[in-house]
Subunit: 896 residues, 2 copies
Amino acid sequence: MKTLYAADGSDLHPHFGPYFSDGKRRVDYVLAYQIQKPNTVRKPSPKFGENNFIRRLRRSISMRSSRAPLQPKEDPEITAQEHQTDYHEDDKRFRRDEYEENLLETGLELEKDEGSKIPGIGFLKIHAPWHVLCREAEFMKLKMPTKKVYDVKQGGNVVEKVRLFIHKVTAPLHPKVDVSHPHSVKSLSHPFSREKQHLFDLSDKNKFFDSTTRSSIVYEVLKRTRCTKAKYSMVLYSYIPFVVLQLLYEEWASYSVFYKYQPIGLIRKYFGEKVGLYFAWLGVYTQMLIPAAIVGVIVFLYGCATVDENIPSMEICDPRNNVTMCPLCDQACSYWKLVTACGTARASHLFDNPATVFFSIFMALWAVLFMEHWKRRQMRLNYIWDLTGFGEEEEVSVRNVKKNKASPDHSHICLFYLYVFKYNHVLAPTQSLDEKVKLTCSDRLPAYMTTVVMMCLMISVTFAIVFGVILYRISIKAALHMSSYPAARSNIRATVKTTAAIINLIIIIIMDEIYAAIARWLTTLEVPKTDKSFEQRLIFKTFILKFVNAFTPIVYLAFFRGRLVGRPGKYLYVVGSYRMEECAHSGCLMELCIQLCITMLGKQLIQNNLFEIGIPKIKKLLRQRKSEMDTKQEEELNKTLRRHEKDHFLGPFIGLNPEYMEMIIQFGMVTLFVASFPLAPLFALLNNIIEIRLDAKKFVTELRRPIAAKAKDIGIWYNLLRGLSKVAVIVNAFVISFTSDFIPRLVYQYTYSPDGTLHGFTNHTLAFFNVSDFQPGTDPLEPMHLGYKVDMCRYKDYREPPWSTTPYDFSKEFWAILAARLAFVIVFQNVVMLMSDFVDWLIPDIPKDISLQMHKEKILMVELFMKEEQGKRLTMRERNTPQQPRSRPNSHTNCV
Amino acid sequence: MKTLYAADGSDLHPHFGPYFSDGKRRVDYVLAYQIQKPNTVRKPSPKFGENNFIRRLRRSISMRSSRAPLQPKEDPEITAQEHQTDYHEDDKRFRRDEYEENLLETGLELEKDEGSKIPGIGFLKIHAPWHVLCREAEFMKLKMPTKKVYDVKQGGNVVEKVRLFIHKVTAPLHPKVDVSHPHSVKSLSHPFSREKQHLFDLSDKNKFFDSTTRSSIVYEVLKRTRCTKAKYSMVLYSYIPFVVLQLLYEEWASYSVFYKYQPIGLIRKYFGEKVGLYFAWLGVYTQMLIPAAIVGVIVFLYGCATVDENIPSMEICDPRNNVTMCPLCDQACSYWKLVTACGTARASHLFDNPATVFFSIFMALWAVLFMEHWKRRQMRLNYIWDLTGFGEEEEVSVRNVKKNKASPDHSHICLFYLYVFKYNHVLAPTQSLDEKVKLTCSDRLPAYMTTVVMMCLMISVTFAIVFGVILYRISIKAALHMSSYPAARSNIRATVKTTAAIINLIIIIIMDEIYAAIARWLTTLEVPKTDKSFEQRLIFKTFILKFVNAFTPIVYLAFFRGRLVGRPGKYLYVVGSYRMEECAHSGCLMELCIQLCITMLGKQLIQNNLFEIGIPKIKKLLRQRKSEMDTKQEEELNKTLRRHEKDHFLGPFIGLNPEYMEMIIQFGMVTLFVASFPLAPLFALLNNIIEIRLDAKKFVTELRRPIAAKAKDIGIWYNLLRGLSKVAVIVNAFVISFTSDFIPRLVYQYTYSPDGTLHGFTNHTLAFFNVSDFQPGTDPLEPMHLGYKVDMCRYKDYREPPWSTTPYDFSKEFWAILAARLAFVIVFQNVVMLMSDFVDWLIPDIPKDISLQMHKEKILMVELFMKEEQGKRLTMRERNTPQQPRSRPNSHTNCV
């Protein structure tokens, strides 16, 4: 009797660790709940005698029907203990009891543990006996390995040898994890069924279902069990041996193994398929970044190597080409010499050379290859993990419709079998189905309207912020230009760029957090029907907001800056008298590159260090302080605490979405503007190598063990990746043709150049301006700044000279080059899309060896069942004739 | 005894029609085979006594083990009958016997019928007894309706009312077919399992499996049964009552019901899911064509209505605009007046007006809507037909690798369980799996190389033919121009166009047939592994060839004709001295339209009438003549023939691929160049209304009943449709911007026009040419043809005038308009693609009511099983304690 509510610490013994206090029944799941502080507990409350009587009655009834192992609480001490002085507390306890009774009804076995070292927290340990496991496994159609074992042939002799060789070479890259079964043998899997028990190897029933399966079975039962309102906080007992945890820590969650593959099988075993797939995906992504990074570095080096052979920058840097340029701002600025732009021209070449075009085609195909590679890897994992044929059922689960914390994590049980919490307390499934219809379109309309309005508002806020930063840049620049300190004036560009970029970065990071909160709030307003739908809507909103937030400044730089400037004598002014920003002489590509670089590095560094390492640590500290102990006591306690008690102090698992989101935004950075920044894959690679181990550490040491959720694929993220890689093609096409000087150079070389080289290109790109055409009041205050009188200045544009019949109109060259740019976009987009589709079509989604093996399995399965049928027929024949009077006799009369 | 090889005609009695001669066992399948003519049969061949002995021994052994209803052939008459004088014939018979024994082994029951009215043909009737049906249904995981019935709610009150109203209004459109169960009630389906027999309503075992299911079960068994080489020609006995056939004929296969929906449920019941899906698809396509046709007609009428307000054609037709045009050919032609092009200019407006742009955007979205609509319809059918969850298994079936007729129809049984025919005669499945690896890449390389080379060759042949037609046109035109008969000269254009278009059409139709044969041959060469792969490869090849064949002349007209002409004084010449073709003054759009019209109409009329009606009739005639009877005798015989004997004279079912292919090419015509021919949907609609009933007639009356193949979707055709609608977007973008005058008009109106209207557009599009710049020998022979001396003639192009600094170069307008055209392509393509993706994303793939219902079913299923579990637990509890000694006692010790 006493052992059930074990407060005597008997199960502290290491031997009993993961077992019930009887030392025989495994703990498959632990629920935690709030109880009154122990010092107020031990007093019975006579007021609730009647209540207690009813409960007792009810329990004894349920006992009779369910044969539950939880004994009736006749023990006076325990009866006393379970009553609380507080009415609310008692009500809670009453509901918990009801829930527990329902659990017993399902066949689960329970053990309470309220006398733990942590005051105010009670634990409910749950054990699933064999018959429950079998029933639920059959019900969930879990595929289990059968006795039938077959050889896995890896292909012909040569293929096999090559495979072995590769395996040998890459041996140091593989984590040192014991593989449970040799690779050359696999056992046939079949959905578990009690009627076909003979197929399975049930010699050791304790090991047939592994711990992850057991806990997910219990979780299924918990989800299905109806309850009124009992609130449990979930702590999943991590009863995989400490050795395995140690192994995970050493071979996965450590920076020293950064060069190794991840032990995906082990991760899946410990954290479930969903987490396993995330890390597998992250691994594939990181692996695929290696070739991209290498090619990117080569492209960058090519730029460095050819910078001295680049004719346009040579021409700009040549002081003999005495070109007088028009002033960069009104009045305060004066004429300047083109040769002063030499530095930026040379730097621009690093990112604006023909290799960039090749690289962005390469990256478009890389993205497709990545998707294909992932699809195949996913298929392989599905096969190895026996998920083929597992239909991802739309969960009929509850949304926790609490206003304060409607998070999609399952950290609060009990969830309802249906999402009817809101309408009625206890509903049978069929009833609640009708209930669902009640929330009609008109009920939902306000929420949807709010969502649309808020999304638009948020997006405009982002645009406004970007515009604000632009204004900041323009005004600061103008102010600095006008200041009389020469030191300030010389550092103008550097100062403005640096401060603006940092402001941008900080705003992006802050808004990211705000947007995440808003997206969550909006999704809660919508009251989505299922967890899955909640998650999808949340992801969709968060993605849009974060994406707009991260990419608006970059898109502005790439496509709008310097386009809406006007021309000398007819500049475009915003907010009174500010001239719109111009690009540096050699185009905006370099500034785009700087912006990308700062955003990527800054975001990754700050978000990784601050948010992923810093904040969890602070949270943990706060939690510990909350429990009002000083560190010394705590440390001492820590040694005596049991595992599930320790786990209680860990952070809850809040889902993989933030991790995925971060990676998707990074993927966007890598693919969308890769034409302007070939080093992006390298940065991403370096970040991800750290990211994998960081996430691993977080999962192994800082979070409670998540529910082992089954998943066949990465869901909506795959579609987002696909969408991004499609958008990337068109964005890159525009970057190459409009932001870079690639097309004008090409057109000049093959059409206008007298000798087929780029000599004279710089001159060709500069239009003439007659200084007498300045609008009154905009001409420079110091016209003699350069030491001579200027009649004609130059500016970068394709326009007619002042002496033509249509002065300052766009010239024929302008239109020809525009046509070439547009033609390039069309050709690039369609060719790359066609190539992508072709690659997609060419590579089968299912790896050949897997499809062969699946085929083989199917045949083996057919054989197995045919044999069984024959056996059955033989035994049936002996007793069958009288049993099938309708169909058999006919054949018999014929036989005679 | 005698009844088994019933030659006594006892089953001619109508009552026994679809039954074995005992009148009790249903005929589920009939196989036909060649036997020696009856007159040579009845002589026993003593030579093969030993052979016979072995066979008899073998049979008696097999008899003992299988308790088959086919009795041993001790009857001397029958024994005599089964021997053939011919060795080859005997060998065949031996193999057939072996196959039949194998069939008996599987539990099927057989009845032979060699004494039929048709000499030389024997029939093997097959009956599947109840236990075989159950076994195979469980094995095939067939979903069958359970006893559990539930109400189908169609949504709220308003929704329900609207639905009823719509149903009432469309009542005359629905075929008068009795619905077997009311729509408001549906029974829950579950994969059949013998262990769960209690779930199903087995009160009438004869009706539980319907005839289609029964025959497909038998077909599965036939496919699986191993045999050496017995060759059967398959006739499936159509034992659906004559009433149903009549119903199908009246409510479906008749032109008088052309306006009605098709009885899809009935079609599926009679012909299986695959055929049902084809007709459902054809129905959806035809239905979707109605709005497209209406909008198309409106667009066309808009063109007709505005033809008098069209300023450019008014300007051309105005004789006051005295424009002298440059000659259309060298020497023979002279200058001409623009006003003579008035007719074509007015006609062009019909197809080249702003409404066309709207229409092609509309059609792009229409295509997406069509796909979405189909996806939903397919889902609904899948649900109604209980196909959800049915995994389309890659069939491990045989390819019939005979050289002469390797058709993918299953008209020849026995197929092998694996495709190993070629290598070895009898192989166990596992053996053959290893066998498969033998055909390595290097074995396949020659076939693949041949395929690639042949495909390239065929495509170049198509190009050559098109070029040939062009040359024909050019040369005939030149010849006619030179001829001295004025009558000939006046009819030049009409003559040339008509003959060329007819030649084109004839060539397309002839080449279509040739290409189909070549594609089949090439696919046979490749020896694909499975039937499915064979089909896919064949479709892919045929599609490419037919598509290229049909669209090359059209693509040439749309995008190349008139572009490679050169300019006066510098024309482009081909094959000696022929000038390349020019378009009429108002662009090639009209000619494109005529070509499309002729191709569509001609192809559909000729192919429908000739190939689909004519040739089958001729074939039938030939077959009948072959059987050497005159018509009178035949008619008399026809009355006495049993159904399977009649069916023997019908054509075999050769698959749905030709039907699909025809429709896909038509879909291409409708979507690809819709910008140039808004009446295309109307033509397609008219054709399809006939096509549905024509195909229906063919299926009901002229073909043997096909195997009821299960299919969840229309397979590769869906991908082809998707691909086509993607290509359509870009093609239409190019047609609008390059083939039509839409963009130049727009640019003129908003940029160059002095008053914002199109006045002056015609003048703007005409460049000047100084007649003194003609190349020597190309100037007109009759320069005074118009009655005055010409110094300057005009031609349609954007080029600099002779008096500019760069005479005859492309002008600034040319480049500006080119840029506008290209920009339009980019905008159009991306906007339409985005809209399509948006529509795709907006419309859920699964209709809401279906997903609700599926959800409800899932819950009901859970409830059903939970109840069952509870029942089981209660019964188990009474006897369980001693049975589960390992897991239960623990809980008991605790309970005490």
